[in-house]
């Protein structure tokens, strides 16, 4: 017996596969047909003309818009810090290493 988290992935996958089979069995009982090639298969956009397929999706950099918008006070300076200039990254590395060394020094003295 251990107080650490535990799980058995094999059992989990077996149960999941059984349940997939049950779900497939259930869905096979439903109506399979629909009217292909009619207005029924057009996407619903509140009566507006649907845009071209390639313009329907949100671009990947906008997927987390709500999250970035809410946490912009955190993300804006973080993004600014990522300049892509190697000299800046080296400065960050040296600064973090120095800070770590100071913390370890204080910890060893106490």
């Amino acid at each position: 017996m251990t107080s650490l988290p535990f799980w058995n992935p094999v059992i989990c996958i077996i149960a999941f596969v059984i349940l997939i089979a049950i779900a497939c069995l259930f869905i096979s009982r439903g109506q399979k047909k629909y009217k292909k090639g009619t207005a029924q298969t057009e996407i619903f956009l509140s009566g507006e003309e649907p845009p071209a397929v390639e313009q329907r999706h949100i671009k990947s950099h906008n997927i987390y818009w709500g999250f970035f918008q809410t946490l912009k006070e955190y993300y804006d300076p973080t993004v600014r810090a990522h300049t892509g200039i190697i000299n800046d990254f080296i400065i960050w590395l040296i600064a973090i290493a120095a800070l770590t060394a100071v913390i370890l020094l204080i910890a060893s003295l106490t």
Binding site: W7, I11, F16, L45, S46
Partner: protein, 334 residues
């Protein structure tokens, strides 16, 4: 572990039984939810069995697939969503300690917290695959919600396990059967009680996010994006999402009951045996009903929908802060 054909068959039958009962129970609670919320708004509302009628209707309606949809992913998403929710139920002490979870001993609280992400991820995949702008916006919003509520939920889970580890070192403190059989309320001081109440409040706030109900239903938001994720789903595919939603209500409610109300009635009234087990089972269903009514029905009637950008603030700000204070009050000796 030796797996005989008898135990394997028992596990399969048990899995089917849990799946059926979890879904039936979820649909029934959905019926109560609609009826109670209608009465709270001075409406008569649909009959309690309306969700059952809805599912039977969905099954006979055309299951339309949009022309430009990614067919295999669009059709697989509802199946994965339902299967993953029922998988979660197999780890939970559904029905109290009357029925040992089928997968008890093979997974724990942390696994359940992560497995609860799967149905939402399946819905996101289905939304993106349907090639609808409404569904795509819904999928984006769903991901934002998921990233937001996971943090406070993880804090609640860790807090309970941490306290149990203090009380019962070396025991299987992450196991849900262990958590259910070791209530914390009687083992903590006044500060611990306040901590537990704060953690309970946090999970009450997390639940509408998990179930995409008001005020955190930004991914569906009918007046704005016409049900969002499921805008293009119909017929049998939509029926599966509907069943997954019902079962998820049971799963999330059971998790709350297991963490915060793990009490049985039979020891108090001194009845044991099959009658005692039956009483405990009915008592569990009653607790589940009260939890779902509080976290889903009352909440969605009482408040309005939040904006997209307010959801992360609510979860990562206030809810997480409350959960962390609850954690500190619970684990600091008092």
């Amino acid at each position: 572990m030796v797996v005989t054909s008898g135990t394997a068959l028992g596990a399969v039958i048990g899995t089917i039984g849990f799946a059926a009962f979890g879904i039936l129970c979820g649909l029934l609670y959905k019926g109560f939810d609609r009826k109670i919320s209608a009465h709270m708004q001075s409406r008569i509302g649909p009959p309690i069995i309306q969700p059952f009628l809805d599912v039977s209707k969905f099954m006979i309606k055309d299951s339309v697939q949009p022309e430009r949809a990614l067919a295999w992913l669009y059709n697989a998403a509802p199946i994965v969503s339902l299967a993953s929710v029922i998988t979660v139920l197999l780890y939970l002490p559904f029905g109290g300690l009357t029925f040992t979870p089928i997968l008890s001993g093979h997974g724990d609280l942390i696994l359940v917290v992560y497995l609860l992400i799967l149905p939402a991820l399946a819905m996101v995949a289905g939304g993106f695959a349907s090639s609808s702008p409404f569904a795509t916006i819904g999928a984006q919003r769903k991901m934002v919600t998921m990233m937001s509520y996971e943090f406070p939920l993880a804090v609640v889970a860790i807090a309970i396990a941490w306290k149990l580890n203090q009380l019962y070192p070396g025991e299987s403190v992450f196991g849900l059967a262990f958590i259910y059989s070791h209530p914390l309320w009687g083992h903590v001081g006044p500060a611990g009680i306040i901590g537990m109440l704060l953690l309970l409040f946090s999970i009450v706030v997390v639940t509408p996010g998990q179930l995409a109900t008001v005020p955190f239903d930004i991914d569906e938001a009918s007046p704005e994006i016409a049900e969002g994720l499921t805008a293009e789903y119909s017929g049998r595919n939509f029926a599966l999402f509907y069943l997954a939603d019902a079962a998820k209500m049971v799963a999330v409610g059971t998790l709350t009951v297991a963490l915060f109300f793990p009490y049985d009635l039979s020891p108090l009234i001194g009845i044991s045996g099959p009658v005692g087990s039956f009483i405990d089972f009915v008592f569990f269903l009653l607790k589940l009903f009260l939890v779902t009514t509080l976290t889903v029905t009352l909440t969605r009637v009482a408040v309005a929908r939040l904006k997209v950008s307010q959801v992360p603030t609510s979860y990562w700000g206030a809810t997480t802060a409350i959960a962390l204070v609850g954690l500190i009050l619970l684990v600091v000796p008092n």
